[in-house]
Amino acid sequence: MEMNKVELVNDKEVAISPSGWKIVGREIVRDKLALFSLILLTVIIILVYGVSFFLNQEEIVTVDLFSIHEPPSETHILGTDYGGRDVFGQLIIGTRNSLSIGIMVTVMTGVIGIIFGMVAGYFGGTTDNILMRILDFFQVLPFLMIVIVFVAIVPKYGILSFSLIMTAFLWMGIARLIRSKALQEKELDYVQASKTLGTSDLKIMFTQVLPNLSSLIIVTMTLNLAANIGLESGLSFLGFGFPESTPSLGTLVSYARNPQTLEFRWWVWVPASVLILVLMLSINNVGQALKRATDARQRRG
């Protein structure tokens, strides 16, 4: 009974607005919070990437012993940290780095997860069984600890190896999701028809089934982006994220582990914390609105 109702609603929606993107746009405009988040996010991204273009990272991370822990002033808008480095510059570059690595990891985990899940779901049977056991195994690993151990023992450690390590242990969620959808999708008539016509499996998977899952993929990747930014800053906070010379939001927050800084020097850690929270909240808001747009039952607009 429930199913019928959903399909009915679906039919109606499709009859009114055939374009999926129109629905997404309408949902975001209707949801004032998501609209505000999207605008805020765009402004932050443009500002961060724009301003960091004019900042010199070498200059910012250079230690200046004559201006340690200066409160905010004319020369240093947000004061300086324990090494006399300008907090504002670190904040901008840190946000850029955190965002970039978040996007990089999200895309890489997305690609691996989509291929893995698609193969498992589309072929089913034994292939599915074997692949899912591998996935199960990755999923029970204690993520944080394994990543920290890898970060500690990789000899030539840099931004690329950090994002690869993160990717290696984060692709399972999206793979599982794609697999369950692909299992449903392959039973549909268009796949069967295509098979009868002799289309190759590879072509069916990636040119016919994949576009049908695109909305789901976009939603998941948006939500993953928020989670990945949180994970990156968490790892940097513990000292196992970016190398010292590369500013990150998490590194700025980690200075607050010094009780003196936590209690008296708010300018070092509060802006970075607020920025992490704002980034994660607004990406989540946009993601939730996208999720509603793809699910007819929850749509508001």
Partner: protein
């Protein structure tokens, strides 16, 4: 039911074995070995080479692996290079602290989640529901380390209500009532910080579960029979909505492991997460290996626990 549990336990064995192989490989990749911590570097290199041969460090990897695994089964996890004591003994000291902290966190998590979830589900779209949903929205996006720092700043430093580090007041006789109270007092702030964040997903789940159940036909029947509103909620809806929450318990354990690393680090609480980070920084790799293995086994057991509870609660899963 027993069949399902047995089958589930059998699938667990290869997982544990694979985990042990990965941990072993990690241990081999780490610089230094069992010997480098024990001998004086000034000793003649030939003597060291002989020692290595005698300890079997030049054997093929599978021989070393089986020997290591045999040791692990007997509780021999090697020597800590920094603390100069058996790893198993060291880990045991910390496990007790971590166990109590996790237990308190779990209790607080459910103490917060159940009333909030019920209020929010029962009176959905009211003001209290909107407040609770707002809290879960922010809590969902809030990284645990930022929240813990804010809690430490507000309650530990600004209001000065709670201690800001350690697990017990120094100089109190162990075993006395005062000692136990001091332990709980030290655990309260870390546990509360972690619980307030981890509870969020449970609240969200409980809310949607109650809203879903509310519209089912059997609730209509119960109302038609003349059951009072409180009976409908406490007997009919709650029983159906609370059980799936119980199944989350196992997955919570996995979450607690990750969270405890941050929490113990921020509050300076001497548990396993703290030991793990310190050992990494001190390059005390035998401790690191033991902890990764231990945490891995704990999360495998957590998943097992969840699946078994789920199969008890929802018979449909057993058939698969």
């Amino acid at each position: 039911m027993w069949k399902f549990t047995l089958r589930r336990i059998v699938t667990m064995i290869p997982q544990v074995l694979l985990l042990s192989i990965i941990v072993f490989i990690l241990a081999k990749m780490m610089p230094g070995d069992a010997l480098s911590g024990m001998v004086d570097p000034n000793i003649d290199p030939n003597t060291i080479a002989e020692k290595r041969e005698a300890l079997g460090l030049n054997d093929p990897w599978y021989q070393q692996y089986t020997r290591w695994l045999g040791g692990v089964f007997q509780g021999d996890l090697g020597q800590s290079f920094h603390f100069k004591m058996d790893v198993s003994e060291l880990v045991w000291q910390r496990i007790v602290n971590s166990f109590w902290l996790s237990l308190l966190t779990l209790v607080l998590t459910y103490l917060i989640a159940i009333p909030l979830g019920i209020t929010s589900g029962r009176y959905n779209d009211s003001w209290s529901d909107r407040l609770i949903t707002g809290y879960t929205y922010i809590g969902f996006a809030m990284p645990i380390f930022i929240f813990a720092l804010v809690m430490l700043w507000v309650f530990g430093f600004y209001l000065d209500l709670f201690p800001t580090g350690g697990s017990v007041e120094p100089g109190i006789e162990p075993g006395t009532f005062e000692y136990i109270m001091s332990k709980i007092y030290h655990m309260l702030l870390p546990a509360l910080s972690m619980a307030l964040i981890t509870t969020v997903s449970t609240v969200q789940y409980l809310r949607s579960e109650i809203i879903d159940t509310k519209q089912k036909d059997f609730i209509l029947t119960a109302r038609a029979k003349g059951a009072s509103e409180s009976r409908v909620y406490n007997r009919h809806i709650l029983r159906n909505s609370l059980l799936p929450i119980a199944a989350f318990l196992g997955y919570e354990i996995t979450g607690l492991i990750g969270g405890s690393i941050f929490i113990e680090n921020i509050f300076g609480y001497p548990g396993m997460g703290q030991l793990f980070l310190n050992s990494i920084l001190l390059r005390d790799y035998s401790v690191v290996t033991a902890l990764v293995l231990l945490f891995g086994i704990l999360s495998i057991l957590g998943a097992l626990l969840s699946d078994i509870i789920l199969s008890l609660v929802d018979p449909r899963i057993r058939i698969k």
